[in-house]
């Protein structure tokens, strides 16, 4: 098992990092020559070259962060709401829980296609409905208008992953001690206050873990955006950028450099998150 993990994870990772310091071409990976940090940043004839000097890279960093912040925060809030509703006992609760598992079960590629069709500017049902309801007066080009690309992507991601958030939060809610609520009920505390004073602090550790997991997942987003909008610069993420360099431009060196940067960004964020979460836990 250890050997397997070492082969499938350790070796390729080290190899990728090594390739990022070479002038490797994707078609001739074995003829790579060491060129130091040139793939990251280099200055020639008064111009900066390398991934860090590429405006498209910075655009993809910005897009990725935008995507992560918006999708994760909206998913957390919506997921919390759904979890609170599912935490009540009512007839048909099992069915509702089953229904919200459906988006999670659908392959990402399929959900990207499904939404791509629903968001179609001419024949899509979303525009049709919005027009019929009088909310908009001309069709919106959800997946073609550069201004709207990221919004559409976040919209689809929210649909796809809110169930995951809701289920994690629901699991945390169901582990809470009932006594606290009974005591609050007896004292006649307003439910909203109970939520802020009792529920939220108690589920915060679990909530933090869920948010961290989702954030790490969102930063490496690839398939949803790739299938929905292709390698469009306006919705490019770090993963798409790296893959494009690697396999469309055959720039194994630059692509590996971008991959390496992404890896360290995620590693750094993970450490910050974990340390931050732990500090908060010990404060109490």
């Amino acid at each position: 098992m250890l050997v397997t993990i070492a082969i499938v994870a350790g070796w390729p990772l080290l190899r990728t990092i090594w390739l990022s310091f070479t002038d490797a071409n994707t078609l001739k990976l074995d003829h790579a020559k060491w060129i130091g940090l040139d793939n990251f940043l280099t200055r020639q004839d008064g111009h900066w070259y390398g991934v860090l000097a590429d405006p498209v890279w910075w655009r993809s960093v910005k897009n990725t962060l935008w995507f992560t912040v918006f999708s994760v925060s909206i998913e957390t809030i919506l997921g919390f709401g759904i979890a609170l509703i599912l935490n009540q006992t009512f007839p048909g609760r099992g069915l509702v829980r089953a229904a919200i598992l459906i988006p999670w079960a659908i392959p990402t590629v399929v959900s990207a296609k499904m939404w791509g069709w629903m968001l179609n500017d001419q024949y899509g049902i979303i525009n049709h409905t919005l027009l019929a309801l009088g909310i908009i007066d001309s069709p919106i080009a959800w997946t073609a208008d550069p201004q709207l690309l990221m919004t559409s992507v976040v919209l689809v991601d929210i649909w796809k992953t809110t169930p995951f958030m809701a289920l994690l939060i629901l699991a945390a809610l169901q582990m809470l001690p009932k006594e606290c609520y009974e005591a609050a009920l007896l004292d006649g505390v307003h439910p909203v206050k109970v939520f802020w004073r009792v529920t939220l602090p108690l589920v915060r550790p679990a909530l933090m873990v869920a948010v961290i997991f989702r954030a790490i997942d969102a930063i490496r987003v690839f398939d949803l955006i790739y299938v929905l909008t292709g390698t469009n610069e306006r919705s490019m993420t770090m993963s798409i950028y790296a893959r494009q360099q690697l396999f469309e431009f055959n720039q194994a060196g630059a692509g590996s450099a971008a991959s390496t940067l992404l890896f360290f960004i995620i590693a750094l964020l993970t450490i910050v998150f974990v340390v931050g979460a732990r500090v908060k836990l010990t404060e109490k």
Partner: protein, 279 residues
């Protein structure tokens, strides 16, 4: 029992919220099924309810594309990934949960760390490895590379599960002179099947849905898995996507997953939360 108007209104609002959630979750899939039944120009008219049953797209997706091969590829890859990662996962979890050795905690953290890897970070290294092994455009390339995300998860969940089993069980078995492998097979496997079903299912779903590696490590349509097949499905021209076929293909690959998920709802939820909350 009588209810005041306020309580009644609250109740109404509550069910309204529930209804909105259900419609929101289910509608896109419902609409995909609806669209998959339409042919030709019918597709370009928006309908909210089915008006006839037409399975033309379902036959043409198999005729126009090597879709049957794609499904077969996905089945082969996903089942092999599940079998391999469960086998390796059990042995590793047994060692991690039961045998004391130095660096065990460090090892567990490393395994968890691997599951956080961005796939793209290993892409070029993995590509070179696969090229070197001569596995490019082979299904085995996918089976090997999928281990990177199924194995850490499997090991993690199985280890936490094994730790909760009482030690007395195996102590009795050791006293009776059973070997480690015999203990795993006779004592743990029968107890572990719920955890195995959960992790196996999650690994299957992950492998079935994977896109990036499948897109990168295969070249020809007859080696593609279902997600890549659907993702790259195109019509006569780039601007004329065969939406009917795409929707039919989407429904075909999603229905088994949805049935699996609904049938094993409880197991999957417990597996997801074990993987996340305890981590």
């Amino acid at each position: 029992m009588t209810m005041t108007t306020g309580a009644l209104a609250r109740r109404g609002l509550f069910y309204l919220a529930v209804a909105i959630i259900v419609i929101y979750a289910v509608f896109p899939f419902y609409y995909a099924i609806l669209s998959s039944m339409k042919s030709g120009s019918e597709l370009f008219r928006v309908d909210y309810f089915p008006f006839k049953w037409n399975f033309g797209n379902y036959t043409s997706v198999f005729r126009d594309q090597p879709f049957a091969t794609n499904i077969w590829n996905s089945l082969v890859v996903s089942s092999s990934v599940v079998a391999l990662s469960l086998f390796l996962g059990i042995t590793a979890a047994f060692a991690l949960a039961r045998i004391q050795f130095r660096g065990r905690a460090f090892l567990l953290v490393t395994i968890l760390g691997v599951s956080m890897f961005p796939q793209v970070a290993v892409l070029s290294g993995m590509f070179q490895l696969i090229r070197g092994l001569g596995l490019y455009n082979h299904l085995s390339a996918l089976i090997i590379s999928y281990m990177i995300f199924t194995l850490p998860f499997t090991v993690w969940v199985l280890t936490t599960f094994l730790r909760e089993l009482p030690k007395e069980l195996e102590e009795a078995a050791i006293l009776d002179g059973a070997s480690s492998w015999l203990i795993i097979r006779r004592v743990f496997l029968p107890l572990m099947w719920p955890a195995l079903v959960t992790t196996g299912l999650l690994a299957f779903i992950a492998a079935w849905n994977e896109f990036l590696f499948a897109l990168t490590f295969t070249l020809t349509n007859d080696m593609r898995t279902v997600p890549v097949g659907i993702g790259l499905m195109s019509g006569a021209s780039a601007y004329e996507l065969p939406w009917g076929n795409i929707m039919a293909a989407s429904v075909i690959v999603t229905v088994p997953l949805v049935i699996l998920v609904l049938a094993f709802q409880r197991r999957i939820v417990s597996g997801l939360t074990a993987g996340a909350v305890k981590g």
